[in-house]
Point group: C2
Chain length 256, copies 2
């Protein structure tokens, strides 16, 4: 297996586990986001920019959103895949990363993602400019105008919705003591129900995080009721009156 590992780009192999896949035998969206988050961590650590080094600056990286395109062909559990990432560009406040999940011969790209990172001061919990010492090692171009992520369209207020409530559980927290970003996708998709999820696959999506969800909170996940020929869903995650995340998903139909 040929893997690229330089300052800007990092690839690693990954044995896709049974428990990373859902009923279809393919990786669930939340597991894919977890996996790309792992390759991003490995990339940072390979450049000596692990969590400890980052937190010494008094801040932490925060993902503000993702967008992604998925191939209709998806990997199966038991398959060794390649996880890849590249530090695309940055400016004073934003850093863009891209990710790919490929077969082990680099022939099939199963999924391609982009994410936007900002830097948060751990004391004030506010965004601040990215410390140059943290970004330089990635050899990523500094650009005045960096590509923005596609913004999800809002769920129309007049839409008929399906919704479900979820209590944030202890095991939704990760070693960062915050709700893991990737978990949002389980909440986003579950209300669509088994019947729909077996017969559809995600083709593309955009997801924007607005406010942090906390341990013990009850979140409400709502999505427009899809009519037979509709292939785009609009999602909100709400706590009380506050919208914590929005997403837009385009779906393939399959014959499952």
């Amino acid at each position: 297996m040929k893997l690229t590992q330089d300052a800007q780009t990092y690839e690693m192999p990954h044995l896709l586990a049974y428990y990373e896949c859902d009923e279809t035998g393919h990786p669930s969206m939340s597991m894919m986001l977890s996996m790309i988050s792992m390759v991003s961590d490995e990339h940072s650590m390979s450049l000596g920019m692990g969590t400890n080094e980052v937190q010494q600056t008094g801040g932490t990286w925060v993902v503000s959103g993702y967008e992604g395109q998925l191939n209709k062909k998806q990997p199966l559990f038991g398959e060794t895949i390649i996880l890849g990432t590249r530090a695309v560009a940055y400016n004073r406040f934003f850093a863009v990363r891209e990710f790919w999940i490929m077969d082990q011969n680099h022939k099939v790209e199963y999924a391609h993602f982009k994410s936007m990172f900002v830097f948060m001061n751990l004391k004030t919990r506010r965004m601040e400019s990215i410390p140059p010492v943290l970004i330089k090692p990635f050899n990523s171009p500094m650009e005045k105008r960096i590509p923005r992520l596609k913004r999800p369209h809002k769920l129309a207020e007049t839409s008929a919705v399906v919704e479900q409530n979820y209590r944030v559980r202890y095991f939704d927290l990760d070693a960062n003591h915050h709700v893991n970003n990737a978990r949002y996708f389980d909440w986003l998709l579950d209300p669509l129900g088994r019947e729909f999820l077996r017969k559809h696959q995600i083709q593309s999506f955009s997801l924007q995080y607005l406010q942090e969800v906390r341990d013990g909170e009850i979140i409400n996940s709502r999505v427009n009721q899809l009519k037979a020929e509709e292939t785009t869903s609009y999602h909100q995650i709400v706590v009380g009156n506050q919208v914590d995340a929005i997403a837009e998903i385009n779906w393939y139909k399959n014959n499952g």
Copy 2:
């Protein structure tokens, strides 16, 4: 890294991912059960006894329970660990497997588990005798009396309990179209709450599955209220009036 792979024993390396760990940075119990289930699958596949071969007999393996002992020292995310399994013994109806999770030098055993498997006819959903063709390749001794697992003590009916309800979600299902066994541990532990879970670690446990939990069901997870000096918890997972699983857990206190 030296790994044993023969008919009876199978070891594999595993990079412990961030998303397999909870707030403590150590693997969650449900992820440990998922990992040992993976090494058991890899073992079976290495002997040509994958899911397809098994299902051709019209049946499937079902885990009826686990017991385990955990070291106070646990691996951290980012660490490469060894997952191991051995087909211990079997008789006409039961097969016992053991599992270990060790550091990559085989010096520290982080966890040791035993599980009991039975064989279920997929049509009748009843237990039946294990097809010899499925067990022979493991070179495991046929024994009249095989070691039984420790049975969890029941939660006393007079105990004051803490409890929580959980709806079974789409992503609790695995490619087998059933609720993944390992998920039960998230339900078992979550009612204990963050304060308790940060300050305690599992020392040993036994878990018995009695009835299958199904998609969409609301399960009730209850556990005795632990007084300051108590270190054993008794758990039930109940749907309606039916007890679907019971567990007993002994806890280390830590200073977390």
